[in-house]
Structures are given as structure tokens and as C-alpha cells.
């Protein structure tokens, strides 16, 4: 078979392009206003990195300078002098206890709400109301949630749950009160993560389970929930980050007493009914804005706080990486 002469490239020469090569699209050829915008985008991106690095670097420097083991294992004391102000043991324990409480309440609520919304969601209007309701809760300032919690837990029916003054006045401040309100700020994150996870599960998975005669709720329990467990974990880690970092609820609802002060009664319950502090309220109190004015202690506590937040961030990354590796 011989190709027609016209279609054959001339011997020895490279085939000539049908149309001119497109102009290079590099920022160097752009109009100056576009180049300016390009530079601005780069500048903003690099500035972000610089700010983040500066914050972590500075807090790390100050933290390592002032933090030592004795500080972590001794209890804080009220004192005007920085040297006698003791350590940060109680705030660290308070942070852990409050986080466990808050996330323990928020996780079941968030997961159940998300499951209902995605798997049932009838009537539609109610489902949409719940969805935007959770966005409203997410947008509500923590100080408003805190002050609302105070109004709730000062009601006398909740008196057994919180610190009570000797005269019988109900103060509405305790680990339980703070933990319950903390669950509200973690709830939207867990809800959102679970919802996205459930939406990402293909319809075939559900249909296969239904075809085997499983009910919807059984499908949820045995097929869907195990599949979205990484999403729930991500949401919980994000929620824990929010709880650890929140100050307003602690100041208003936990009393922000320096030491953990359990109430009388059964030991465990007394602790939950008692007041205490967390790292955030400790930093607030020890900064020049608070009464303590012990900046070195504040730096040390803030460093520990930042470490916890960084760890939680890393946990979110690790979960995401593991589940994406499993998927591929």
C-alpha cells in the first residue's frame, strides 16, 4: 500500500505544524496587573507559612525555656510571686478530664444525628432544619454557649450536678456542666465528619445489604458504621482540639479555680461535681490580663496546650493517611 504523495511528509524535513505553537503561558508574559496578582498570591501563601512558623517557633522557644518536669508534676498555688505559683498539674488533668467528658457526650449525639440525617431523613423539612440547626450551633460563639449553660445549670433541678455553696445557693459550675456545654462545640465537627463519610459510601453497599434481608438499622450498625469509623475518629479528634482550646466555657462554667476542687460525696462523682481549671484558663489567669501575672508559667502552660493541639492535628492527618491507603 502506497500513501498518496500529498499526505507524505517531504523527505528529510520535519512535519510542519498545522497551526502555530501556542504562546507560552508563563507569568512573565502576562500583563503587569496579572503579574501583580500572581505575586500577591505567592506573597500571601508564604506569609501564612511564616506566621505559622513564627507562632510555633516562638511558643516552642519560650516553652522549652520555662517548662520543666517539676512544673508538670506540682500543683498550682495562688501567689503573687511567680516563683511560688507552683506547677500546672491540675490544669493538665482538668484539660484531660474535660476533653474526655465533652467528647464522650458529643460523639454518640453527633453520630446518631448524622446517621438519622443520611439514612432516614424523613420528613425532609425536619432533616433540613436539623442540618442547619447544627450549623447554627457551630456558629454560636463559645461565650454565648457558656452563659447559656450557666442559665441551665443554675436551675435548682440541676443542683446535684454542680458545685453548691454552703448557704445552699446553686452556682452551676462543675466539670459536668462544662463538659456538657463543651460537647456542643464538638458536636458539629463530629456530625459533619460522619455525614461526609456516610455520603461517600456508595449506594451499592447499602443495596447489597438490603438485598440480603438486613433492615436499614442493621445495615447501619454492621456495614456502614464500621466503614465510616475513620471519619468518626477524624471528627472526634477535631472536636477534641476545639474542646482543648476553648477558654470561655472553662472560665464561666468550670469556675477556673486554680486547683481541682472535688465536692464531698462519692469520690468520682464528687470530682465531676467539683470545679477546676484547664490549661486555657490557666494561661488566661497567669497572663497580664488575669490576676496571676506569671508570664513564665503562662508560656509553659501555653506550650503544653499547643503540643496537645499539634498532636491532635497529627492524629487527624494519620487517620486520613491510613484510611486513604486502605481505600487504594
Amino acid at each position: 500500500m502506497v500513501t498518496p504523495v500529498l499526505d507524505r511528509p517531504p523527505a528529510g524535513a520535519a512535519p510542519s505544524p498545522l497551526r502555530p505553537k501556542p504562546k507560552r503561558d508563563s507569568p512573565r508574559d502576562w500583563r503587569w496587573s496579572h503579574r501583580l496578582a500572581f505575586a500577591a498570591a505567592w506573597g500571601c501563601g508564604l506569609a501564612l507559612c511564616a506566621v505559622a512558623a513564627a507562632i510555633v517557633g516562638y511558643m516552642g522557644y519560650r516553652g522549652l525555656q520555662y517548662l520543666d518536669l517539676g512544673l508538670l508534676t506540682s500543683r498550682p498555688e495562688a501567689s503573687l510571686k511567680q516563683d511560688e505559683a507552683g506547677g500546672i498539674l491540675d490544669p493538665v488533668l482538668g484539660t484531660l478530664l474535660l476533653t474526655v467528658l465533652g467528647i464522650g457526650i458529643a460523639t454518640p449525639l453527633g453520630v446518631v444525628s448524622a446517621v438519622w440525617l443520611v439514612e432516614y431523613g424523613k420528613p425532609r423539612a425536619l432533616a433540613r432544619a436539623v442540618e442547619s440547626g447544627i450549623e447554627v450551633v457551630a456558629g454560636t460563639p463559645d461565650i454565648v454557649i457558656a452563659i447559656f449553660g450557666l442559665a441551665i445549670f443554675q436551675q435548682s433541678i440541676f443542683a446535684p450536678l454542680s458545685f453548691t455553696a454552703s448557704g445552699g445557693g446553686v452556682f452551676g459550675r462543675s466539670f459536668l456542666a462544662a463538659g456538657t456545654m463543651m460537647s456542643l462545640i464538638a458536636l458539629p465537627l463530629i456530625f459533619g465528619a460522619t455525614r461526609e463519610g456516610l455520603l461517600a459510601v456508595g449506594a451499592l453497599t447499602r443495596e447489597a445489604s438490603w438485598a440480603l434481608g438486613k433492615t436499614r438499622i442493621c445495615t447501619v450498625r454492621e456495614v456502614l458504621l464500621p466503614q465510616v469509623r475513620p471519619n468518626i475518629a477524624t471528627g472526634a479528634a477535631l472536636g477534641m482540639g476545639r474542646i482543648v482550646g476553648d477558654t470561655a466555657i472553662v472560665v464561666v462554667l468550670l469556675g477556673a479555680t486554680l486547683q481541682i476542687e472535688p465536692q464531698d460525696g462519692i469520690p468520682g462523682i464528687g470530682l465531676l461535681r467539683g470545679t477546676g481549671s484547664t490549661l486555657t484558663s490557666y494561661v488566661y489567669g497567669a497572663s497580664p490580663a488575669g490576676e496571676g501575672n506569671a508570664p513564665q508559667k503562662a508560656y509553659a502552660a501555653a506550650f503544653v496546650l499547643l503540643l496537645i493541639v499539634l498532636l491532635l492535628n497529627a492524629a487527624v492527618d494519620a487517620i486520613a493517611r491510613r484510611s486513604s491507603r486502605k481505600a487504594s
Binding site: 506569609a47 438519622w116 454560636t140 461565650i143 454557649i145 447559656f148 445557693g169
Partner: protein, 334 residues
């Protein structure tokens, strides 16, 4: 895994679907109940202030708001109507000033940063920038406040405020570094990552065919990004601004630490001095007065502030939800 599932099975036989729908639905509706309770409880406790100040007149200006609030602490258990007297304009002004400036500045930063992350950043760099944004969003506000009060404010006080400037207003306010400038700068750093996250999600969700279409018509890369991607993501940009406003309005602890905490309305006509004058926001004054909350007049005042913040964040949250709807209608889920 199967043993886990077995343990989860409730006693008394498996639920039917109808039962499950009811029970899960009831839990999901708890959140609506909480919102209603929140509005009701806060409004009831705020009522005396609204009542004794004639509706919304307490938002007006007149007198020294700090003195008015401090005067309430000393009143008795059953305060007279005059004890509730409040003109909270300086607090409202301080809140609006910091919020609006921070959102406006932050939005510009956020749009350009989001473009950088989605379009320009080399792969290597993206693995640095994205965690940096997440980190900035996760840093607790009290740490921002600490940096503000221990690093930025002393710097401003020492190097930017001249002795003459300080002397010129010393009979009205003390300029010690804390004030409008530091508060706005830190608030901007705090809310920009929130906006970046929303805008980045939207830019990624724009179908690449749209941008390629623009390129095929001869647009260069920037024109395609700005004219197509950013334009299509406008609802998300609006939503980002709205949600960041809600966050900034309610920022209590950080503002309380770095703003100078004085119910003062800085006047723009003061020139540069304006930047260094102290302010106080609604949320900050709530945190600062919470210890005295057992005095009835203070309590009612604090709950009135809470009501104002609650209603505005409610409107803003719904506004953010509505702002995103046009993108959902195009099938882009953000």
C-alpha cells in the same frame, strides 16, 4: 468486628426500622430543642435590661459604659429600675470595628492564599502551606491572646507609640500598646484560616472543564482563575466572609486580653492615635463580668449582650447557609 457488632445489639430484640427512625430522629432533633432553649433562656434573663432601658435604647451612646456596668455590681438583690441604666454603644462599636476590619483585611488575604494553594503552589510547598493553615485554625485563642499581650502589645507600646502621642491623650486614655491595632491584627490572623478553608474547598470543587474552556478561548492562566474559578466560587467567598464574621463577633478571651479592655470609642479623626486607643467588645465584657454575675443587674446586662451575639450569629449562620445555596444548585457540594 462481628463481636463488636453483637455487643452493640440492644436487649429486647433488634429494632425495626420504624422504631429506629423514631429513636434516632428524636436524638437528632435534640439540637433544635437546644437552640430554642438557648434563645428562650438567654432572652428571659436579658428581659429586665431590655425592659428598663426601653427596648433597644441600650444600644445607644451616652456616658461611660464601664462606670455604668461597674455601678451595677454594688446594687442590692432587688435593684431599682435605674440600676439597669445602660448605654452600650462603645461596646457595640468596639465589636463592629474589630470584626469588620479584620474580616475585610482577612478576606483579601484568604482569597489570594486560596488561589495560591489551589493553583500556584508547587506540590512540595502545598504540603507545607495546607498544614500551616490547619495549624493556624487550630491554635487556641488564648495562645493568640498571650502572644498579643506579651509580644505584640509591648512592641507597639515601646516602638510605635511616641511619648508625645502618649502625652497628647493622657488625660483621656492610657496608651500602653494594647488597643485597636493589636486586636485587629490578631483577629485577622485568627479568622483568615477559616475563610481559606471554605474558599479552597470551593475552588477545588469547580469543574476543571470550566477553566479549560476559558483557556481554550485564549485566556491566560490568571484570567481563567480570576474570571472563571473565583467568579464561580463567589457564593463560597460570601459564605466565608459571613461565617468568619460570626466567629469574630464572638471572640471573647483573645479580645479581652489584647484590646485594652476599656469601654472607649476610638475616633477615626484622631489620626494615627486611633490605632492605639483601647476598646472593649461585647463578648470580652461578658467574660470580664462573669464573676459578678450573681448581682441581678449585671446578670441581666450580660445576658442582654449574649442575646445580641446569639441573634446575630444565628442570622449570620443562616446567611452563610443561604449564601452557599447557589453553588449547591450547580451540583457543587461545599
Amino acid at each position: 468486628m462481628s463481636s463488636f457488632a453483637v455487643r452493640l445489639r440492644p436487649a429486647g430484640g433488634p429494632w425495626t426500622d420504624r422504631q429506629a427512625a423514631w429513636r434516632l430522629g428524636a436524638v437528632a432533633c435534640l439540637v433544635l430543642l437546644i437552640i430554642v432553649l438557648m434563645v428562650v433562656f438567654v432572652a428571659v434573663r436579658a428581659w429586665p435590661t431590655l425592659q428598663h432601658n426601653g427596648g433597644l435604647a441600650w444600644l445607644g451612646h451616652g456616658g461611660d459604659v464601664d462606670r455604668q456596668v461597674n455601678g451595677m455590681i454594688t446594687t442590692s438583690r432587688t435593684p431599682p429600675a435605674t440600676a439597669y441604666h445602660l448605654k452600650a454603644w462603645p461596646l457595640v462599636y468596639g465589636t463592629l470595628l474589630t470584626t469588620l476590619v479584620a474580616v475585610a483585611v482577612g478576606l483579601v488575604f484568604a482569597v489570594f492564599s486560596a488561589i495560591f494553594i489551589v493553583e500556584f503552589a508547587p506540590r512540595r510547598l502545598r504540603t507545607v502551606v495546607v498544614p500551616a493553615v490547619r495549624l493556624l485554625a487550630a491554635v487556641p485563642s488564648v495562645i493568640y491572646g498571650l502572644i498579643g499581650i506579651l509580644v505584640l502589645a509591648p512592641f507597639v507600646g515601646r516602638h510605635l507609640i511616641t511619648p508625645e502621642r502618649r502625652a497628647s491623650v493622657q488625660f483621656i486614655v492610657q496608651l500602653d500598646g494594647t488597643g485597636v491595632l493589636v486586636a485587629v491584627v490578631i483577629l485577622t490572623v485568627m479568622i483568615t484560616p477559616i475563610m481559606i478553608a471554605i474558599i479552597v474547598d470551593a475552588l477545588i470543587a469547580i469543574p476543571s472543564g470550566w477553566r479549560e474552556g476559558a483557556s481554550a478561548l485564549g485566556a491566560n492562566r490568571w484570567e481563567a482563575i480570576w474570571g472563571v474559578s473565583v467568579r464561580a466560587a463567589r457564593p463560597a467567598i460570601v459564605a466565608a466572609a459571613v461565617l468568619a464574621t460570626a466567629r469574630a463577633l464572638g471572640e471573647a478571651v483573645m479580645i479581652s486580653m489584647v484590646s485594652g479592655s476599656r469601654g472607649f470609642s476610638p475616633k477615626p479623626q484622631d489620626g494615627v492615635t486611633f490605632l492605639f486607643e483601647p476598646i472593649r467588645s461585647l463578648a470580652a465584657s461578658m467574660v470580664e463580668n462573669v464573676d459578678a454575675i450573681n448581682a441581678p443587674a449585671i446578670r441581666s446586662t450580660v445576658y442582654a449582650f449574649a442575646l445580641l451575639l446569639l441573634l446575630s450569629s444565628l442570622v449570620l449562620s443562616i446567611g452563610g447557609y443561604v449564601a452557599k445555596l447557589p453553588m449547591r444548585r450547580q451540583g457543587i457540594r461545599i
